[in-house]
Structures are given as structure tokens and as C-alpha cells.
Subunit: 281 residues, 2 copies
């Protein structure tokens, strides 16, 4: 994407080119991605005003300004010019301004965090469990499945394999999503999607992750599911039932099937579905 | 949550109470939620410095400051004091500062947007389809399932019912999640989870939504799935196979089952699972 032209030019040139440069998006809007080069707040304000006039004349709708944190001095001028916050990451703030008089149809910000829990069972019907060093089960003696957060840009199936390896040292192969839970206001106002995944272990020696895991072990499934924490919690009870049914090969979850690719044609996306039910189609 | 005390007091009182007030979180951190009351940037800077010294002395880890957009003048002072952006919504910016020397274990921001597509079929094996006024299928003549974005705090099953009603005027009952797809970099750097849902229609008269929908109709399923757009796209082909299997009552998706409640005990969460496989457990 383009950045501002004026900032890298002499004051004389700026008299000539007084508009923020942006690229057009697919929805009749403009995206201005500022470089980290220092820019004076009052110069930015004047650029912004003339740019907004220009964009309005051109009938532009949503105007986006991506400000790197190095240009934090420009946040206040942008808001004073009518922009508001859309989203932020550690290194930048995305501001947006809806120019038309008609109702705002700008896309919403990301709303969900995504997590996984891993059901990993060996041939002796023992399940891989951990005790965590922090979180709500810390110091309770509760043994739970390895869990973790899916990183931005990471596939759910890859995240499950990674978390099991990180927390326990066990290599495992992704099998399927057994169930998922959606919850709300899990972190500030954001929602949460938690996928319970089944993995097949490929190695069995345990090496607990020092930073996060107090202990890890292979535990008989019955012993895991008899824990009061599992018995008292509706979600854990369902998960336990699903795992038991899976253990008896009587449960069909959703398996990842690769489809299509990303806009650059470099990545595979997964659709997760009940492939077992699809034989013959 | 608490706000700053000093701001609402006279200069004399501020000499006495020179610390930003926050509430402690569960992870050894502090959350400062600023009110909208105007606050001078230099006063804020001095409050911030004495507060940080205090928090460090107390061994605090992550310090959060939630700034309403009305206090945009305080963004620059906060960043200069060592804070960086965590996330933002239209009305506020959340900044965070990790005080300890040891590695940062702050939680990540929301990473995914969540959407739904609705498969709604009547007793004549006709499926509910729409043509959109915007987006990539605009003007192509393609008929597609109603789709939409799941709002923050909204259950997937409710979002599907809402979108079908909004786009077509048809009342429908949620049946199950048939499949889902995860994709990346769908919107800036965020990922996307798209749930294909089956709904049972409760009314049949169509009233297309004026703002977004060009046309809507009940279309024979075979006609829908014979469209080149469906034939050429791997995801749509899978979805079409799943719907066909479902039509023949040979596909088991994930149904929502209510569990537990939110931290305030007021809401029901849903776990989505293959209940059909669970009979007898």
C-alpha cells in the first residue's frame, strides 16, 4: 500500500502535493497506510482536511488511516478531523472515517478469540493431561487436557498439534474437531470459540513445558473423567461423553479437508466437516 | 471498574492523591478505566509516572489503561510513558504496559471474525437463495445462501436465524452446524471462521431486505448446485454435498446444547456437538 507522499518532500513540494496518498479498496473506500517517518501534527491536520475534501468530491465512502505507533502524535489530529478508532495491534492504530451521509456499512472489528483443547489417548486408553502453573485451576490438583490459544493466521488443526508439543513434548497427529463451545465477554467485551480436538499420539515420552506446566502425565481415562471438576461442569461432562463415544469408535466429529487457497494462492484453507457421513456423495 | 480520582478533585486535593486508580485483575495486573471527564495531558503524564512507580513497587505485571475517545489527547502521553496499543473499538482505545523484566505473558487481542451461511430448505426441496447488492457476487447473477457476520456477544445459532430473517423475511429455526471453514488475512491481518448452518423454515413468504439484497427466492436445490460458481469452487462443492447428504437425512452435524453460564450467571453458553453419535452415553 501507499504512504504519504508529502512527508518526504520539501515544504515547497508540499505546496504542490497536499493530499494523503492511499489505495482504493473494493468497497468504494480509501486506505492510507502511513510510514513511520515523523510528521508534524499541524501539517498532518492540513493534509487531512484537504484530503477529506478531495475524497468527498470523489464520492469515497470509508476512509482508513493506519497509524504506526511511532506517529502517535497524529492520533489526536485524526480524531479531531472526524476519524474514530476501528482496531489496534501493538504496533499500529487503525482509524476510520465514514464520509457519506447514508448509513455506515463499515465492517466490524475481529470479535472472537479462538482456543483449542486436545484429547490425546494412547493404546492403553490413557489420556494426556496436565496441571497448569497459572489460571483458575492452579494449585487445585486438577488434571486437564492441554489447551491453548490459536494464533492469528494459524489453522486450528496446527494450533492443537503445536500446543500438545509445547506443553507436554508429545508429538501428535490431528484427527478431528469433536465439539466446540462459544462463550461471551471472556476477555473485555470479546467472545471466545473453543474447539475440542482429538489427536493421535506419535510419541509418548513426556517433557512438561517449564514456564506454564506444573506436571503432565498419561492418566487412565476413567480416572480423568471421575475428577470432581469434570463431574460438576456441564461442558466437561459433555466433552467426557464425546471422548468416551470416540474411544468406542461411535462418534463422528469434523475433519479438516483442504480447499481453495488464500488471495495470493499460497495457502490452503480447511473446511471442517463430518466426512464419515459424506461417503457416497 | 474504577476511574481516576484525581481528575475530579481540586488542584490542592490532587497533590494529596497523585495516583491513577485501578482495579486488580486475576493475573497480577491493574486495569485503569478512565472516565470521559477532560484531563490535561501534562497532569496525566505526572499521574502516570507516579502511578507506574507505585505499581512497580507493588510488583504489578500488566497495566491496562482504557481511554475513551473523548480523551484522545492522552494517547500520546501514555505511549511516551511506555504504553502500547492492545486493541480498540470505536469508542475507546485499550493501552497496555508490561512492567516486569521477565517475558510478557499478556493475552492476545481477538483474532477472528465469525460469519454464518444459512442452508434453509422447504418441503419441496427448494432452497432459500439471495442475490446481493454488494460484494464480489454483485451483478453476476449468482444465487447464494444468505450470509452474515456474527455480532460481538451473539450466539452463532441466533446470528443465523437473524440473518435469514433480515435478508429474506423468512422465519426459521436453527437445526445444526453442518461444517465450518477457517481462512486467514480475510480483513487486514485478521482470520475468519465461517459456519455453514442448517435452518428449518417456519414461514415461506419472501421480503428481500432493501439495503443489501437485490433479489431472494426459493430455488430447486438441483438448480442452485448446478450453478457454475458452485461447480467451480471447492468449498461450495463440499457445502453442496453436505446439503445433499442432509437432504437424504444421512449427515450428522453439530447441534447446540446449552451448558453452564457466563461469569454473572445470566447467560447460557452453547457447546456444539454431534448429539446423534452420543445416544446411549
Amino acid at each position: 500500500m501507499s504512504s504519504i507522499t508529502a512527508a518526504s518532500q520539501s515544504p515547497q513540494q508540499q505546496q504542490v502535493k497536499r493530499i494523503l496518498e492511499g489505495v482504493e479498496d473494493e468497497h468504494g473506500g480509501v486506505i492510507v497506510e502511513m510510514t513511520k517517518e515523523p510528521l508534524d501534527a499541524s501539517l498532518f491536520t492540513s493534509l487531512l482536511h484537504s484530503s477529506i475534501s478531495d475524497w468527498k468530491r470523489q464520492g469515497k465512502k470509508g476512509v482508513w488511516i493506519k497509524l504506526p505507533i511511532e506517529l502517535v502524535n497524529l492520533v489526536e489530529p485524526a480524531v479531531k478531523a472526524g476519524f474514530y478508532f476501528h482496531h489496534a495491534e501493538p504496533s499500529y492504530l487503525m482509524l476510520v472515517h465514514w464520509l457519506p451521509v447514508v448509513a455506515n456499512t463499515l465492517p466490524a472489528n475481529a470479535s472472537h478469540r479462538v482456543g483449542i483443547g486436545a484429547f490425546v489417548m494412547n493404546d492403553n486408553d490413557e489420556v494426556l493431561v496436565v496441571q497448569e502453573k497459572s489460571g483458575k485451576f492452579r494449585g487445585t490438583g486438577v488434571w486437564k487436557f492441554p489447551t491453548g490459544v490459536v494464533d492469528e493466521g494459524e489453522d486450528i488443526c496446527d494450533a492443537a498439534v503445536r500446543e500438545v508439543k509445547e506443553e507436554t513434548g508429545v508429538d501428535a497427529k490431528f484427527v478431528e474437531v469433536l465439539a466446540f463451545r462459544q462463550s461471551h465477554k471472556s476477555f473485555f467485551d470479546k467472545s471466545d470459540l473453543f474447539f475440542v480436538c482429538m489427536l493421535q499420539p506419535l510419541s509418548f515420552e513426556i517433557q512438561p513445558q517449564e514456564a506454564e506446566i506444573e506436571a503432565a502425565q498419561w492418566m487412565p481415562f476413567e480416572e480423568y473423567s471421575a475428577q470432581p471438576m469434570v463431574q460438576k461442569n456441564q461442558l466437561f461432562q459433555y466433552v467426557s461423553k464425546v471422548c468416551l463415544a470416540k474411544k468406542h469408535r461411535q462418534y463422528a466429529g469434523f475433519v479438516p479437508v483442504p480447499v481453495g487457497s488464500d488471495p495470493l494462492g499460497q495457502e490452503t484453507y480447511y473446511v471442517y466437516l463430518n466426512r464419515q457421513s459424506l461417503s457416497g456423495y
